[in-house]
Structure formats: C-alpha cells, structure tokens
Subunit: 235 residues, 2 copies
DNA sequence: GAAAAACAACTACCATACTAGTTAGTTCAG
DNA sequence: CTGAACTAACTAGTATGGTAGTTGTTTTTC
C-alpha cells in the first residue's frame, strides 16, 4: 500500500508546497480506496512515510477533516471516514441542486459556441473509453465535462463547492468499478444534457441533469451489501 | 480594533482548542467587518494579539483560506479578502440552488409538526426585532431559521455547505446595516416559506424561497457605491 | 538628485521539541 | 486466575527555532 502512496507522491511532485502535495496525495488515496475507510492514520506515520515533518501532515489532515474525508480524534488518532449512506445521499442532494441550477442557467443564458464544442469533444473522448472500458480515464473526462459546464456557464463557486461535495460520491464511484451503470448510458446522458442546453430548453436540461445525477443511487444498495466494512453502520 | 478582537476572544473561551477558538474569532471578525477587506494580517501579529503560538494561528488561517475569507501569499502576508461582486453573485447562486432544493424537499416530504412550530416560533421572535430594530439579533434568528429548515428536512450537508458559502453573503449583510430590505419584508418572506411548505405546495415553496434568496442582490449596487474600498475592483 | 546596490525587517513554510490525553501492556495483590 | 494499579507507548495540540522569499529602507555611487 505504501508503494501506491509513494507513486502518487512522485506524481504530485510539481505541487507548490509540501502541504499541497500531501493534501492531494492523501485526498486521492482516500477517494481511490488506497487508504481504506476506517483505517487509522497518524501524523508521525505519514510524516515518516514521506520523509517530511509532522506540521505539513497535520495541516493536510485539517483540510481533509474539513472535506469530511478523515476524522481527527485528539490524542487518539486520525481515521479515514467510512462511507455513510446518509452522507452519500446528502452529497448527491447538494450536488444535484447545484448542477441542476447550473444546467438551467446555461440553458437560459446560452453557452459560448466554444464551450459547447468543448463539451461535445469531451463526449467523443468519453466514447473512446467505453470499449474497451477504461474507467480511470472515463472518470477524469466525466469530471472535466462537469467542470467545463460549470465554468463555461460562469459558475466558478458552484464548481468549487461541487468539487468538495463530490468527494463522498467519488469514493462510491471507485468502489463500484466496474460501473454498475454502463459507460454508454452515462455518455448518452451527457449528450442529452448538452443537446438540451444548446437548444435553450430549460426544462429538458433540468430533467436531463436530474436523471444523470441520480444514477449513482442505483448502485448504492448493492455496494453496501458487497462492502459492509467500508460503510458506516448508521444508515 | 484590538479591543473588539479581544472581546470576541473572551466570548469564545469555551471552544475546545486554541485553533477552534481562533478560527471562530477571526471568522466572525471578518464577517462583521471588524477586520476590514484588504487588511493585512500576519501569523506573528495575531499570535501576539492573543498571546498564543503561531501554529494555531497558522492552522486557523488555512481554514479561513479554504472558506474564501483570507488570501495567504507565501513570504508576503495574509490578507482579508475583499468582497467581490462576482463572489457575492456566485455565493447567492449556490445558496439559492441549495435552499430552493431544501424548500421543495420539505414541501414534498413534509416536516414534523415540531419543526413547523419551531419555525413559526423563530418568526415570532424575529418580529420582536423589527421595532425597535435589532439587526444583530435578527441576523442570528434568520440564521437559526434557515438552519432549522435544512436540518428539519434532514439535509445536514446542505446546511453545512450553505453555512460555508453564506460567509460572503453575510459580509455584505453586515455592510448593509441598516438593512436595505426592511425587516418586516424579510419576516413576511420567511412566513410565506413556512406556509407554503406546511401546505405541501412545492411550486409555491420554490418561488417563495427564490424571491427571499434574491433579496440581497437589491442592495449590492448601492453598497459598492458606498464602500468602494471594501469591494474587489473586478466585477 | 537619481539610480543601483546592499541591508534589514518582515513574511509564510517547515522542522523539531515539549506537553497532556488516551490506550495497551505489564506487574502486583488478593 | 482475575482485577486493579502502574507504566510505557502511542496520539494530537501547542510552542519555538530555522530557512527562503519578499519588500521597504538605507547607503553608496555616479
């Protein structure tokens, strides 16, 4: 496991500070299940692993705690937060609220032709991940799609909040690979979203985004059954 | 100015750690304009002011930076973020998206009688702030109203995100005292929201919440004119 | 008098040490 | 053999020192 951590550490060498680099590595590790839900961490252990002092580790833990990914218990330890069904539902609720508002705003006000073109380009690239299935790449393109849509509609804060909230959802995504939802279905949903926005059809854009955002809930019960230790006991 | 900071510091004596206490004091000071937009801060200066070490100060700065309230420039200084019209619009956009979804959810699924009663009780207490005007108290009751609505509807994450996002809006609120919007008008809007939710009228609840959330935008242009130094130059 | 160079004083970031709280393991008494 | 007491080893929180970057001031040169 430390090999994966160190591999990510090397990947993130371009970060501006040790704290930023650590934060990115630990965040990615938690989302991708390299660090498992419930796993105990400590400032000293992580500092020794990456040969840095405890302070940037501690500062990363603070940010991860803010992001709801770890729980720091004073004098006891730091624990990777288990995935909570309630937290997943809540994160989906908040993300859906924001992304639906973004889609409606984009349909109402229109998007630049260049943004529309970029969205279609991302969809073409997603299609190339569907066969053979390349989930890691699809995941990145999916994220780029939603980011481009939010920023293209002028909603930078919306994307920033969505990015934070979706960490809980991303953990479930990584747990559910191969996707319960076939990639072609997700790609169709993306296409529908862009089409309805390009047409200026506000209601259809809303419906398309809602349907898309609720897809993740379909796989949740099966995942809880397959990985009971990963999930918080409370519903 | 340091007197106000130290007064807040004394008020927050019950916090669990120095960092939590500092974070709360600094956050409240920024929101209430005790620390002005654009003002330079430093780890050492704040540490000396409160007679603590730099590390908890530094850790509070990190959280404030995450919350978009300060900007940390390595080796140069830490600055209270100026209010940005764009940031205010964006924060309002995100908050409206979330709170409208909460209101609809509450209207669809219904709220406990106890929650409805608590909301009406808060409205009664708000009325007592309207004449004579007690803006500080109204502000707290307004916040309690929205928090009770979100938590009562079961949307804890929604409230957590809203609370973070609304910091930018709260700064504008404090700048605009006395309220551009008369308190009775805001109270009427709160009443309308609860009535439509209690009736289970989803569409009316949505409209009522949208109207309420857009109220803050009415005062923005006048505030920019009155306090040009508080606002970021970029639109 | 103006411009360039040198210097001092500030900053945030990182490293290390100390302290108090918590838990697990060991020892001792009954 | 069991339970209580003690101890060691861990933890996070806080304090302090060192370093590199940045900026403002002072000095020197032309």
């Amino acid at each position: 496991m430390n090999n994966e951590l160190l591999a990510l550490w090397d990947d993130c060498a371009s970060e501006s500070s040790v704290r930023q680099r650590l934060y990115r590595v630990l965040r990615q590790s938690i989302i991708r299940m390299v660090l498992s839900p419930g796993q105990a961490l400590s400032e000293k252990e992580i500092a020794d692993t990456f040969d840095v002092s405890r302070q940037p580790v501690r500062e990363s833990f603070i940010r991860l705690s803010e992001a709801g990914l770890v729980e720091v218990r004073p004098q006891r330890g730091t624990y990777v937060v288990k995935v909570s069904q309630a937290a997943v539902h809540e994160a989906r609720f908040v993300r859906e609220a924001i992304e639906v508002a973004v889609a409606k705003s984009a349909a109402e006000q229109g998007l630049d032709e260049a943004v529309i073109a970029e969205l279609y380009d991302l969809i073409e690239r997603q299609k190339r991940c569907a066969s053979p299935s390349d989930y890691d790449r699809f995941f990145l393109l999916d994220e780029a799609f939603h980011r481009t849509l939010s920023l293209g509609a002028g909603h930078h804060s919306a994307w920033r909040v969505t990015e934070e909230v979706k960490a809980q959802l991303d953990r479930v995504r990584y747990l559910s690979v191969p996707e319960t939802t076939p990639l072609p279905k997700l790609i169709d949903q993306h296409t529908r979203i862009v089409e309805t926005i390009a047409e200026g059809n506000v209601e259809a854009a809303e419906v398309a985004m809602r349907v898309h955002q609720r897809e993740i809930l379909h796989s949740l019960p099966e995942l809880v059954a397959r990985f009971p230790d990963m999930f918080d006991a409370k519903s």
